[in-house]
């Protein structure tokens, strides 16, 4: 699937350098470094509790690593917070759905447009022409996303009332709405059936293909990982034990051991 890509894989866009994170005594991540290349789909895999989600939370600024740096396009990000990271062009989804439950599907996705909407509360309150035009434009964009994700019929339903699979889709939609250059997807297909997983893969590949969005994706289903990722990082007990193309990683002895549960020395 690498041949004939509109956006061929380029230089590193996101670099994680020697990150360490611990919670009290628990070491979640120890000295991890890896790079994500522009326009690639990078999978992060590893057994439960390996530190995958913690890694995304560090990149996204929810967790503050005690050591190490994160660089976007060669520039080290200072003073990382979720808000600042969002502004620098990284968006994400969460492992345990983090939707705005009482808001409609469309409104959830519209929140993803937040950084594209500059009107202040007075302009919104007085319905100034600029604010109205902005609202219409961004609504239009969200309607396109709703159409793309094939969730048009539920666009006005409060997301809290939707089944799990659909909520996962809405979360992807919200992340897509940001038009971020890098998307961090934490288990976007967890708890889905084969059919739903296939659909989700299609969406992810299509976005990567057509817009060139760089994706960092955590996934447990090895079939899916082998199918859609360009490169795979394997985490085990907070350490990186392999990093490379899927077929190489699959053959790596350390990885096989980690997954078979071979005792650590």
């Amino acid at each position: 699937m690498t041949q004939g890509r509109k956006f061929s894989i380029g230089a590193p866009i996101l670099e994680v350098n020697n990150i360490s994170l611990s919670f009290g005594g628990v070491k979640a991540i120890t000295g991890c470094s890896f790079a994500v290349l522009e326009h690639e789909i990078k999978a992060i895999i590893g057994p439960n509790g390996a530190g995958k989600s913690s890694m995304l939370n560090c990149i996204n600024g929810i967790y503050k690593p005690q050591e190490g740096t994160i660089a976007l396009k060669g520039k080290v990000l200072e003073k990382i917070s979720p808000n600042i990271i969002a502004r620098s062009g990284i968006s994400r989804t969460f492992q345990n759905l983090a939707l705005f439950k009482r808001m409609s599907v469309l409104d959830n996705i519209l929140v993803g447009r937040k950084l594209h909407m500059k009107s202040n509360f007075l302009q919104v309150g007085f319905k100034m022409p600029g604010a109205r035009a902005e609202e219409d434009e961004n609504r239009e964009k969200c309607e396109e996303i709703v159409e793309f994700l094939e969730i048009k019929d539920i666009r006005n339903t409060p997301v809290g009332n939707l089944p799990y699979g659909l909520q996962k889709k809405v979360e992807l939609g919200r992340a897509l709405a940001t038009e971020a250059e890098v998307l961090l997807l934490d288990e976007p297909m967890a708890g889905m059936n084969v059919e739903e997983k296939r659909e989700m893969c299609r969406f992810i590949l299509k976005v990567n293909d057509e817009i060139g969005t760089t994706m960092v994706l955590i996934e447990h289903d090895m079939g899916v990982v082998m199918d859609i990722s360009d490169n795979v990082v394997v985490l085990d007990y907070g350490k990186i034990i392999a990093d490379g193309p899927p077929h190489e990683v699959r053959a790596n002895q350390n990885v096989i051991d980690a997954y078979l549960g071979v005792a650590h020395d």
Binding site: N60, I62, S81, P82, N83, I85, A86, R87, S91, R92, F94, A98, L99, F100, K101, R102, M103, S104, D107, L110, V111, G112, K114, L115, M117, S119, N120, F121, V124, G125, F126, K127, A131, R132, E134, E135, D136, N138, R139, N156, P158, R174, T178
Partner: protein, 354 residues
């Protein structure tokens, strides 16, 4: 949107409601209601408190910040208005009113700061500080009361373009104008990107932040706007209903009342503020008149007031557990049922009202 009718983004239903309500407020009520009692004891306090409830609604129903101190902000607005009119020669009433709102908004930002660190019941306690601080400040420094020692300061007359608005009906018109404008403003904010930011912070703050929403800015903005509405409401309340300025009128009981209006009316709905305010105001009146007319005063007034408190308590618990959208939602349901009876073929309202 699309081919559907829309005027400035309002639906046909919105415009119909708006025109109907305005017609009732400006034509039907003045024609039908002649008694001063209705204006000065029911309509005026209802609209003033509904305005404060909109403020509470914004901070609590929309932004999800459990704040308790609306009456403190009302007091700030009331005394700001008194002092502005007293000390600034020829200040137009509406200018004084808006500035009073801004003074209250400044307090809102100050006392919204704890929301950046604590939430839930802790925030409620922290925001209570505003209530006590503002009242204490007004009592402590004589300047705010213009060194009045009698305890009761009479509010100045409302004068607009040289014309005094002193009768209850005249004051009612002034209030209708202010409340209408501020309600439209609130609806626009609530339905637009401003409201979405508030609700995102309410429903899932971590995700909101990850989408680029600043929690600091959004929470403080909600507090400021809440306090602005309360401040304007407080000034109107003092100048048209109390007709005097006394800090005790803005005690914690009033803050709780406004909180209950929002809970009973329905969290996160603007019309809930009006419905909740009406209920909280009218229910005791209703109970009293039942006591007087049905039981001919056989029931003691203290018993009636305890009944009132028990009923409020039970209703609040019931609504919090079973219907957080409150009476506004019940009202919507009834309306839909009536509409489907009258016009069974028409589609049920698809879009949810905010």
């Amino acid at each position: 949107m699309n081919s559907k009718f829309s005027f400035l983004g309002y639906t046909k239903g919105d415009l119909f409601n708006f025109i109907a309500l305005l017609a009732v407020a400006l034509v039907v009520v003045p024609l039908l209601v002649q008694s001063e009692y209705w204006y000065s004891s029911i309509l005026i306090p209802w609209l003033c408190l509904a305005l404060a409830a909109i403020g509470q609604q914004i901070v609590m129903g929309y932004a999800g910040q459990l704040a308790l101190g609306a009456a403190g902000f009302m007091a700030a607005g009331a005394f700001a208005c008194f002092n502005l009119i007293l000390r600034v020669p020829d200040i137009p009433f509406f200018v004084a009113l808006m500035l009073s709102g801004l003074v209250a908004a400044a307090f809102g930002v100050l006392f919204g700061l704890p929301s950046l660190r604590v939430r839930g019941i802790y925030l409620m306690v922290a925001t209570l500080a505003s209530q006590f601080f503002i009242i204490w400040m007004i009592d402590k420094f004589g300047w705010f009361k213009n060194y009045d020692t009698s305890g009761i300061i009479t509010a100045q007359d409302i004068v607009i373009f040289g014309k005094p608005f002193t009768s209850p009906q005249e004051m009612y018109f002034v209030i209708v104008v202010v409340v209408t404008l501020l309600t439209i403003l609130a609806i626009n904010m609530a339905r637009g990107s401003t409201g979405r930011n508030w609700m995102a912070v309410r429903d899932m703050d971590i995700a909101a932040e990850s989408m680029g929403i600043s929690l600091l800015k959004t929470k403080l903005q909600a507090f400021a706007i809440c306090a602005f509405y309360c401040g304007v409401a407080g000034a109107l309340f003092a100048f048209t209903y109390l007709k005097s300025l006394e800090p005790v009128a803005f005690d914690i009981k009033l803050s709780f009342k406004i909180l209950f209006m929002v809970i009973l009316g329905g969290l996160g709905t603007i019309n809930g503020a009006f419905i909740g305010a009406a209920f909280i105001l009218l229910f005791p009146v209703l109970l009293n008149s039942i006591g007087n007319n049905v039981f001919h005063g056989a029931i003691d007034a203290t018993i009636i007031s305890s009944i009132e408190q028990v009923v409020f308590g039970v209703l609040i618990i019931v609504f919090l557990i079973y219907e957080p959208l409150g009476m506004a939602k019940l009202w919507d349901n009834i309306k839909q049922r009536v509409i489907s009876k009258i016009a069974p073929k028409s589609e049920p309202l698809k879009q949810k009202k905010t």
